[in-house]
């Protein structure tokens, strides 16, 4: 990634004619172009919802678990109550791990998309 060109005007027509790359399909709004876009969107949304699902199952369930099992409030890990350890310390590295994993996967999705649509079919 050393030089990035931001295109705001009409797409550049490639010198060679006759080829149909994915980017052209998308620009022309064809059915195939729509399928390309849908696959990217669906991949990214599935990833995002997967991460959020993990967040809900791990962090979001804590109040319910402590509500249903009140005895947990008295559990201790070393000098700290369990609830303090989970909510005051452990949750933050966990959020970072989730975020790091998301970035890796979403960039991989975008790379796959780029190589798919930039491939020229003859």
């Amino acid at each position: 990634m050393n030089e990035r060109v931001r295109v705001t005007g009409p797409a550049r027509r490639r010198a060679t004619t006759g080829d149909r790359s994915g980017t052209r399909e998308i620009d022309a709004g064809t059915e195939l172009g729509r399928v390309y876009m849908q696959s990217l969107l669906r991949e990214q949304l599935r990833l995002a919802l997967g991460i959020l699902g993990l967040l809900v199952v791990t962090v979001g369930m804590l109040p319910l678990v402590f509500h249903l099992l009140p005895g947990l409030a008295e559990v201790r890990v070393g000098p700290l109550p369990l609830s303090w350890l989970l909510l005051g310390v452990v949750v933050y590295p966990w959020l970072i791990v989730l975020g790091w994993f998301y970035i890796r996967r979403s960039e991989a999705n975008e790379r796959d998309f780029a190589s798919l649509v930039e491939e020229v079919e003859r």
């Binding site: 969107l41 109040p63 933050y92």
Partner: protein
């Protein structure tokens, strides 16, 4: 002036001078209107993340959390957890597309996505409303802090903060503020970290007494991570989680920062660094809360918001205690300055586009002058309200600002980014349902002192019902008006979701 006030006075003066100096230094880089609004979109992830952390960690984080933990115990840990997790939700759903949309502000995004002036106008009103609702407790907190630190009358704090913010925002806009905010994150972290280390050493020297057994009754209640009272406690906790997890993406001063990233990839990386910076900071306030339980138990009943400011002096005697007191006072003051600056920029940006930048008769202000006029309006109104109405309840107001943001901009952003089928009519319906629902709750909470019973609970913490209601309204009305899906919706999706490196019409 007694010697008690010297450290606080020195701290406040130093922070003010440093803020103005860095702001003036940043001014050398501010040239164009684009610099004023979005720092010409060239801020690197590390600097940008420090700036986001700097402006996000407000009075509620620096002072409020420790006090709440002291009084109510572990369920208050949900505030910092939610404020951090909100960035994870923002990262996975909003960060990169929002940057790629190429808009300056939230109303810009709404107009570009839906092609409707009406939706734009509603968003502008909401940005100003949320901004002012959030600015109010910052100004009030500043008044409280200056009174606690140097015994100044309550109106001095809002006045000093408003003046410093106006000078910085008005002279340099986003570009110079970015440096100021980044500096203030590290100042706030240091101001909480160093005293915490000393206080922990003192605590260990005292034989490390156990805070959960320390001060009388309610030991297991203090380590229970949900509110008291069965079903209602559970509802309040989950509603708080909804408001903070989803509200972050709708806060105008947070969103505007994402436009300053160079591209979508950088926007994601910035968010990850923000997660790390916030996680690091939020390890500290609970330490103060727990130590306060041993050394300052009587503060729990009488004004726990000043716990962070008073604990060093209570635990350490002599000059070291004074220095530490000065340090936490400096951090608190930095918190007011940075959050107020960020909010003022966001509100000023919207006001300058939709109010001060418009043509009145034959006159029309240029971009930069309109921004400055907007900044004056953005700061002066809440500053006066905070002086006129001195007691609204600092932590409550911030919580309500999150609930309003979660009920309005969160559905708009989610559906606008991920669902082609959103129509202007649907957006208006959802914003009305969410805005009026949460707005009603805000009004009721601010005037009523009733805090028991289901009505009070539902209105005091509205997010758990107002967010789904707003989402449902947006989806249903959009389905009913599906013929009006904007013609450019498909093209806009391409712009939001495709990496910049791929050459496409956007």
């Amino acid at each position: 002036m007694s010697t008690d006030v010297v450290p606080g006075f020195v701290a406040v003066v130093l922070v003010t001078v440093a803020t103005l100096a860095i702001g003036t230094w940043g001014l050398r880089f501010s040239r164009t209107t684009s610099d004023f609004f979005v720092a010409s979109r060239s801020v690197r992830p590390g600097l940008n993340a420090s700036a986001i952390g700097g402006e996000y960690l407000s009075a509620a984080s620096f002072l409020g959390v420790a006090g709440l933990v002291l009084t109510f115990g572990a369920d208050m840990l949900w505030y910092p957890v939610g404020w951090t997790a909100g960035y994870l939700v923002l990262l996975v759903l909003v960060a990169a597309p929002l940057r790629r949309s190429g808009a300056y502000t939230l109303p810009d995004f709404a107009e570009a996505r839906l092609g409707s002036r009406g939706v734009r106008a509603m968003c502008s009103v909401l940005v100003v409303a949320i901004g002012w609702l959030y600015l109010l407790p910052q100004f009030q907190g500043a008044g409280l802090t200056l009174r606690a630190a140097i015994g100044a009358p309550a109106w001095v704090g809002p006045l000093v903060v408003a003046a410093v913010v106006l000078i910085n925002v008005g002279s340099g806009g986003m570009r110079s503020i970015t440096f100021v905010q980044a500096f203030q994150y590290w100042l706030k972290l240091t101001a909480l970290l160093l005293p915490a280390c000393v206080l922990l050493a003192v605590w260990a020297g005292d034989g490390a007494p156990d805070p959960t057994i320390g001060a009388g009754a309610g030991a297991d209640f203090w380590s229970l991570p949900l509110g008291e009272g069965g079903g209602q406690g559970l509802y309040v906790t989950y509603s708080l989680i909804v408001a903070t997890f989803l509200g972050t993406m709708g806060l105008p001063h947070v969103v505007v920062r994402f436009y300053t990233n160079p591209d979508g990839r950088a926007a994601r990386r910035t968010t990850l660094v923000v997660l790390a910076l916030l996680g690091l900071f939020y390890l500290l306030p609970p330490v103060y809360g727990a130590l306060g339980r041993i050394y300052a138990a009587d503060l729990a009943a009488a004004g726990s918001d000043t716990l962070v400011l008073e604990l060093p002096r209570l635990m350490v005697d002599g000059p070291l205690g004074e220095v530490l007191t000065g340090l936490v006072t400096a951090g608190a003051f930095a918190a007011f300055l940075s959050t107020s600056s960020g909010l003022s920029i966001a509100v000023a940006g919207v006001l300058s586009q939709d109010v001060t930048g418009r043509r009145y008769g034959a006159r029309r202000l240029s971009g930069v002058s309109a921004f400055r006029a907007g900044a004056v309006l953005a700061v002066v109104v809440p500053a006066f309200v905070s002086i006129a109405a001195p007691d609204v309840g600092v932590a409550r107001t911030v919580g309500l600002a999150f609930a309003v943001a979660a009920s309005t901009f969160c559905p708009l952003l989610l559906l606008g980014i991920w669902w082609r089928g959103l129509t202007a009519a649907g957006a208006v319906a959802g914003l009305l349902v969410g805005g009026l629902g949460s707005g009603l709750a805000v009004g009721w909470t601010l005037v009523s002192s009733d805090t028991t019973g289901w009505v009070a609970v539902l209105l005091g913490q509205p997010a758990a019902w107002s967010v789904p209601a707003a989402l449902a309204a947006m989806v249903l009305v959009s389905r009913a008006t599906r013929g009006q899906v904007p013609a450019h919706a498909g093209r806009f999706m391409v712009r939001l979701h495709t990496p910049e490196a791929v050459q496409l019409e956007r």
